[in-house]
Amino acid sequence: MRINFDDLINPELHPEYEPERIFSDDTSFIDVVSPDEVTNSNLSIDPNRQPVVIVDNLHVKYRVYSSGKAVGAAGARRLLQSNMRGVRTVHALKGISFVAYENESIGVIGSNGSGKSTLLKAITGLTPPASGSVYARSRPSLLGVGAALIPGLSGDKNITLGGLALGYSRQEVEEMREEIIKFAELEEFIDLPMRTYSSGMSARLKFAIAASKQHDILIIDEALAVGDAKFKKRSEAKIREIRENAGTIFNVSHSMNSIKETCNRCIWIEKGVQKMDGDTDTVIKAYQAHLKKK
């Protein structure tokens, strides 16, 4: 008898879990939908509200070797081999369309490999669309500044560097410095190099710097809160504050509770297809019902 492992998983205990499928033998979602099969949801813009992001019939495709290696990485083979055998196209997003308005916070949910992160990358402009396009009022930014910081420098110098990286002027950084140090609870350690910090301390510093920015369009990818329970609470409060000030927020998380708490609208993506778009509670209910059914 063949054991179906999916039956062994209690969906109530693991509502967000689904085995990674992109490179498994299950190819059912690879190119099964041709672009014209997908119904193009007709975008309609509510004239009474200010749209901030418009995603118009967005398709994203990746080309991968059947071995799972990205085509781009195997440059030599691409040079030497004209007919690309074994290359598969993964149609990661199949026609996503929606309009995000000012002051909305939108949760994006779906099983693993459903295209959530691809959608967010496409919104920030880091993944090229195969067709369709994304329009935005300003360039959407990810909440995070860690990449700009240098471990060998003191926390204090990293605040300068991070602030400038976020687009502040030197003077604005000076004005925020005290507040960042206080929020990160690093008053005594701010002159030490960042590499001497504990992971919690550097996470706090990164969060405090990143959170100092007022974002017009903000994207939060599964990193809602960092640090110990106390700091987590404060960072959640800070995110709420950013959300109130930010124009629009996109939030990807596997935690349905965090989505419920922070989002007033929800988009559910399954295998690259937009399944549902609407009120958070309704969409999450439908999503969980779908997980149970499987």
Partner: protein
């Protein structure tokens, strides 16, 4: 009405679209504080875990000059020019700036993928920061270079200050090289593997260690070709300005200047054209 028109009506723009070259340069200029801070921070952190710290920035080229000067001094025997040690010191120290701009520039996008993917700023800032870092490193090196020149018996003179405009032109040239290498690496990562080889080939073919007139005088066409060699001509001007009895042709300024600005303009346009490409997962 198409979606694009509708979006335009509400003041929305296509995400990731490349700005015009003028806007692009303006945006980069507005990020100059970030560029400088990034370059400064990297210089500071580069050697912070070494016991000798920043001293290494001077020690490395010193050892290089000693080693190459010794080996090539013996190999060339009587063919080496007068004041050979100073000749080598100037060559090695200035060439170091070129190599660091080229290899650093090549890695400026691919080596900062996380930064490119998380924050929005004109990507031009990264190779510019790399060359700025090279300039900041070069300053103490130049000082040490003059000290060596004096120790080796060169008399200080006012023409030493001509090194300032020369280094500026050299930076312009290196900037162009860094931009070109940065984009090539994004398309073909393998480029970084042959880059050290290219650097070494240029090192041995740019007259860092030998005087072209003396070594290649059997092949006059080669000597003529070196008259248009941007790196060799840069070094020749520097030597003429610093050393007691070195001469150069004033035409060299034109060679160096035209090379510098042509490389920069080409590099800028070439780099800007692929702006939408940087940071993308391929």
């Amino acid at each position: 009405m198409t979606v694009a028109e509708e979006a335009e009506k509400y003041g929305l723009h296509r995400v990731g679209a490349r700005p015009s070259l003028v806007d692009y340069l303006k945006q980069t200029w507005s990020r100059r504080e970030f560029i400088y801070e990034l370059a400064k921070a990297r210089v500071q952190s580069q050697n912070d875990r070494n016991r000798l710290g920043m001293l290494w920035e001077v020690l490395k080229p010193t050892f290089n000059a000693l080693m190459y000067g010794f080996i090539f001094g013996i190999l060339q025997g009587g063919a080496k020019g007068p004041d050979f040690p100073v000749y080598v010191v100037i060559g090695v120290f200035l060439f170091e700036f070129f190599t660091s701009s080229m290899t650093g520039g090549a890695k400026s996008i691919t080596g900062n993928t996380a930064l490119v993917q998380s924050l929005a700023f004109p990507r031009l800032a990264l190779p510019v920061a790399q060359v700025t870092q090279g300039i900041l490193t070069l300053m103490p090196m130049l000082l040490v270079m003059f000290i060596y020149a004096m120790i080796l018996g060169t008399t200080p003179k006012w023409t030493w200050f001509v090194i300032i405009p020369l280094v500026l032109l050299f930076s312009v040239f290196n900037m162009g090289i860094a931009l070109i290498c940065a984009r090539i690496t994004v398309h073909v990562r393998d480029f970084t593997n042959i880059l050290p080889l290219i650097g070494r080939v240029l090192f041995f073919t740019s007259g860092v260690l030998f005087s072209v007139d003396r070594i290649l005088n059997q092949w006059p066409w080669m000597v003529t070709a070196f008259d248009y060699h941007p790196l060799y001509q840069t070094l020749q001007i520097a030597r003429a300005m610093i050393m007691d009895n070195a001469v150069y042709e004033p035409r060299a300024w034109w060679v160096v200047g035209i090379w510098a600005f042509a490389t920069l303009v080409f590099g800028l346009v070439y780099f800007w054209k692929a702006e939408e490409r940087y940071g993308r997962a391929d």
